[in-house]
């Protein structure tokens, strides 16, 4: 019995994935096609520095993005949660979610307008005579991070908000009553109790960032390539589908491994923390 869902999965997910898997062991023909000539070279190729760098860089960028999103997202979520009326909370949450309803590529282009030499930031700073030459903001690592943080912040704020909301305020009062000032209460009670939210938000940011390619492509320079760009290049420019497929599978395996770690160590102890 094949249900529609299973059929869909099969046709549009498993079969294409299977084809890619086969390609990853094939070789590129002279004119960009695929030749069935079994090899594991595509996988071994990744150990070369020129290809390894983007892979490692992706991890680094994903980590930085996650940390920055946390540092900005937690106070933001906390602030929203502490608003006195539900109405205000909902409005603020809506404002956070709203950008997600527009196209990500368009939003990334918008950052180019803001960051480029004749763009918004530089024009304002020059007009105010704070700088003489325009700042080099676009096509830098900074720009990539800015674009990524902007894009992924809602995914960090939302689970954090849910987690913070769930914390019964009487725990905080009890901590106060027992002698903990606000800072101590935060670190000893609030933070541990919102750990599930922190972990969830971190996963929602880290894993997609690993595979990001639009942001580094538009906002980054040649030196800011990430795995996603590498894969994109192999398929579109270099036309080395076997290598591209191998890279894709490596990314897939890394992500699966991370998720497995989470399921094993992160998810199970913390179930319900409410009273």
């Amino acid at each position: 019995m094949i249900s529609p869902a299973l059929l869909w999965l099969l046709l549009f997910f498993l079969i294409p994935l299977g084809i890619m898997l086969v390609y990853s062991f094939c070789q590129r023909s002279r004119y960009g096609g695929v030749v069935w000539d079994f090899t594991i070279n595509n996988y071994l190729k990744v150990s070369k520095p020129i290809y390894l760098k983007p892979v490692l860089r992706s991890f680094w960028v994903a980590t930085v993005n996650t940390v920055i999103c946390l540092l900005i997202g937690y106070p933001a979520a906390y602030y929203i949660s502490s608003r006195p009326t539900v109405k205000v909370k909902n409005i603020l949450l809506l404002l956070i979610i709203l950008p997600l309803w527009t196209n990500f590529v368009v939003r990334t282009y918008a950052w180019m307008v803001i960051l480029r030499e004749g763009g918004v930031i530089n024009t304002i700073l020059m007009k105010l005579n704070l700088i003489e030459k325009p700042l080099e903001l676009l096509f830098t690592k900074k720009a990539v991070i800015i674009g990524l943080v902007y894009g992924y912040l809602p995914f960090m704020i939302w689970p954090l908000y849910v987690s913070i909301e769930k914390v019964d305020r009487s725990f905080l009062e009890a901590a106060n009553d027992l002698g903990a000032n606000r800072l101590q209460t935060f670190f000893r009670v609030m933070l541990p109790l919102t750990l599930p939210g922190i972990v969830a938000g971190s996963i929602l940011v880290f894993i997609p960032t690993l595979g990001a390619f639009v942001t580094p492509d538009l906002l980054g320079g040649a030196k800011d390539m990430m795995i996603g760009n590498l894969i994109q290049n192999q398929y579109v420019k270099v036309r080395n589908w076997p290598f591209g497929s191998a890279l894709s599978f490596i990314l897939l395996i890394i992500v699966l491994a991370l998720l497995l770690l989470y399921v094993r160590f992160g998810g199970n102890e913390e179930t319900e923390y409410g009273t």
């Binding site: 009890a174 106060n176 002698g179 000032n181 009670v189 923390y273």
Partner: protein, 383 residues
């Protein structure tokens, strides 16, 4: 037991030093938006006493407790702890600890972690923490449960952890916000006795909030009955029960039979209250000769019920039994007197039922048992 300097605060049961005021509340007001939760309340709580604040939902008792805890700040008035003004002292600096109604045990810590929380904040040495935690757990009969998590404990056990967590800090005053509400009846009664004996042993001042009048009567040295933000009456359990000052207090604590009417001088030392429908009730005049409109009250257990009219100089009314309810230790009878429903409680002396419905009976009671409701005490501090 707990450390020696604490023992010097010990007060022996029943004989507390009257002038040793631990908590003083002076004309405190607290508003939440339009609602005045605490309306010009003043009181004094003495060292070592078990002080209860009793009242229905919304009367302001929990708000008053939270003001003492420092979880709320008064809009006006003053609060003193051991002689010091603590209005602006935040809760984490007050020598006061609270047992919350829902216990509020930290779910991410085990029992040991919960109980040790306050001590760790104060940076007490590990060895001393171990010592004090285990002694306090022993006190609440939870020895050896240190490594359990709150969700692994029963309601009664959680309640004890909450108690231990507060007590281990040896506060001047322990605040309890309806701590037994979530327990079943039998457990609640056991815990009432345990709490009372614990309080006596430790000599810590307890301020206990409850809506359960029986609970307040059982455990307290003094009770403040609150209604709509003010204290209606403050006194010992027997004072509150035997000499309620208002209808509200008379009805809130126990059951009361009320008669409203006009009080006139009788012969000698008795006054007579005459109700609009002609019932006469005799009252001792006490210290004040009150004449005019008044309400008097007689408790159900003070009334004797019999088939024959009593001869002595007592209050006598006759009526018809409407309902007989068997409560085990007592029999509760509802008697119709001229359309009024009076409640009478008779001790269950013999197995054979003495009274049944529709019987014509005589209700009698000592003149001295009738209580004049002298009006609300307001906020004058009388004990």
């Amino acid at each position: 037991m707990l450390n020696e300097s604490f023992r010097s605060n010990l007060v022996y049961s029943g004989i507390y030093v009257l002038e040793n005021v631990t908590v003083q509340v002076k004309d405190v007001v607290k508003r939440f938006g339009e609602v005045v939760a605490v309306d010009h309340v003043s009181l004094k709580i003495f060292a070592g006493e078990f002080f209860s604040i009793l009242g229905p939902s919304g009367c302001g008792k929990t708000s008053l407790l939270r003001l003492l805890a420092g979880l709320e700040e008064p809009d006006s008035g003053e609060i003193f702890l051991d002689g010091k003004l603590i209005n602006t002292t935040p809760s984490y600096r007050r020598d006061v600890n609270m047992v919350f109604q829902n216990y509020a045990l930290f779910p991410h810590m085990n029992v040991y972690g919960n109980v040790a929380f306050g001590l760790r904040i104060k940076k007490v040495k590990k060895g001393e923490i171990d010592d004090r935690v285990s002694k306090t757990l022993e006190l609440v009969e939870l020895s050896g449960m240190g490594s359990r998590k709150p969700r692994q404990l029963s309601g009664g056990q959680q309640q004890r952890v909450a108690l231990a967590r507060a007590l281990v800090n040896e506060p001047s005053v322990l605040l309890l916000d309806e701590p037994l509400g979530a327990l079943d009846l039998k457990l609640r009664k056991e815990m009432q006795i345990e709490l009372k004996s614990l309080q006596k042993r430790l000599g810590i001042t307890f301020v206990y909030v409850t809506h359960d009048q029986e609970e307040a009567l059982t455990m307290s040295d003094r009770i403040a009955v609150m209604r709509s933000g003010s204290i209606e009456q403050l006194g010992s359990p027997s004072q509150i029960y035997e000499e309620p000052k208002t209808e509200f207090v008379a009805n809130f604590i126990g059951v009361s039979n009320l008669f409203s009417g006009y009080l006139t001088n009788g012969n000698g030392s008795t006054l007579t209250l005459t109700t609009p429908d002609g019932i006469e009730v005799k009252v001792c005049d006490g210290n004040i000769k009150q004449i005019g409109d008044a309400t008097v009250m007689i408790r159900p257990e003070k009334i004797q019920i019999s088939l024959h009219k009593p001869e002595d100089d007592v209050n006598v009314l006759c009526g018809k039994i409407e309902q007989v309810i068997y409560l085990g230790t007592v029999i509760q009878l509802t008697v119709d007197v001229n359309g009024r429903k009076l409640v009478v409680l008779e001790r269950n002396y013999s197995k054979a039922p003495e009274f049944e419905e529709s019987q014509e009976v005589f209700l009698s009671w000592d003149i001295s048992s009738t209580v004049i409701l002298s009006g609300s005490q307001g906020n004058a501090e009388k004990s």
